[in-house]
Amino acid sequence: MERETRKILGRLGHSAFEEAPFLVSAQCHRVNVADGHMVAVRVKLAERVGIEQVYESALGVSLHSARTAAPYGAGASPSSFGTENDRPQPRLDRDAGGGMSVTVGRLFPDRVLDYRFVVLGHNTIRGGSRRGDLECGTLASPRATARQVETRELIRPCRGEGAMTRPIQVMKFGGTSVGDASRIRKAAQIAAEASKQRSVVMTVSAMSGVTNTLIAAAEKSAAGDEGAASVLALALTAPGTRSDPSAHPKASGAANCVAEIDRLIEQDRESLQGLARLLGELSPRALDVIRSRRANLCPALPPAVLEEIGVRRIAFDARS
């Protein structure tokens, strides 16, 4: 939450996001709600403004986003303002605007910072499936930027040769959803379930945190720290990082999977020692080699789980 907020409100640089230059302090609480993400916000503003301006600003977001949300028809305004003291509430407000509205409420002056308010959005509609539609709408818009047009050309489907008899679904699993072994297992189950209807391709990111740990170790190694490689190897084999044995499949693939991970970790250790002893610098190309090897570790896990569930699977090396 702390990083994503600044990333979303930041700028797109050449090869990385430039995060917005303000501080965010946040903590996540899991509660038993079927759908809906609610955020209690306390904010310190750069200048003193009246509460009417904050209120108008919330509606301003609404007016701005309403244009992009137009395909969803009337009543789908992305932001609405609840004036009751007990709103928004997930069950009552998450479906506003067909799940595309973000509801803001309980706006009051704050005794420590400047203002406090509560924001609610539908995580799987606004934050998921229909957000994807919205992205496609933006790419297809006549007002698309040069970069968006380039991306549009890139992902334009070309129909023709080799038509499949079954429709294909590409399922994307992000860092958190493969963050530990039990979540990897759940992701594999979702893919296996979907594969009953369609041909499924899974794309998975590196386990959350692992890539950042690796890059930090690579930077230290390049600066001459020979110990960083061993510290990294220890961190990556620590419980929780490599997944806990109880969630590991009993299938024959499990032992191979653990052996493969150990081999990759050993390779990482050797690469980083090489960086420290020989190169003394971290070029973009060297960083790509290290990152790609690490990201390749993760697909070793879902196939092993899929095998346990009884689904045939193939792990692809994205570099090949």
């Binding site: 890139l154 294909i168 679904q169 994307k172 992000g174 899974m202 790609s292 697909p299 994205a318």
Partner: protein
């Protein structure tokens, strides 16, 4: 799978070559009912691995989906597992 230019750390995909490689790699396995598992933003030039630039990192699943003429892309991510 995804073939890019040689800008390490911020590579741009090349559509036609990515399409050819992806289809050649996946379609035979899909026809047999297998589930291919592939990493997110890792790509390569003809010679070495690259990582996609920030803008395209959002889209690897979309790029693969387009290359395979997929009917749908689902962004399962945290929403499915977190709630």
């Amino acid at each position: 799978m995804i073939v890019t230019d040689e800008v390490h750390g911020g590579a741009r995909p090349q559509a036609q070559r990515s399409r050819e490689k992806t289809r050649a790699a996946f379609l035979p396995h899909l026809a047999q009912g297998a589930i291919p598992v592939v990493t997110g933003y890792i790509a390569s030039t003809a010679r070495s691995p690259t990582t996609l630039g920030a803008a395209d990192r959002i889209f690897p699943a979309t790029i693969l989906g387009a290359a395979l003429d997929a009917e749908r892309k689902s962004s399962s991510g945290t929403d499915v597992t977190a709630c």
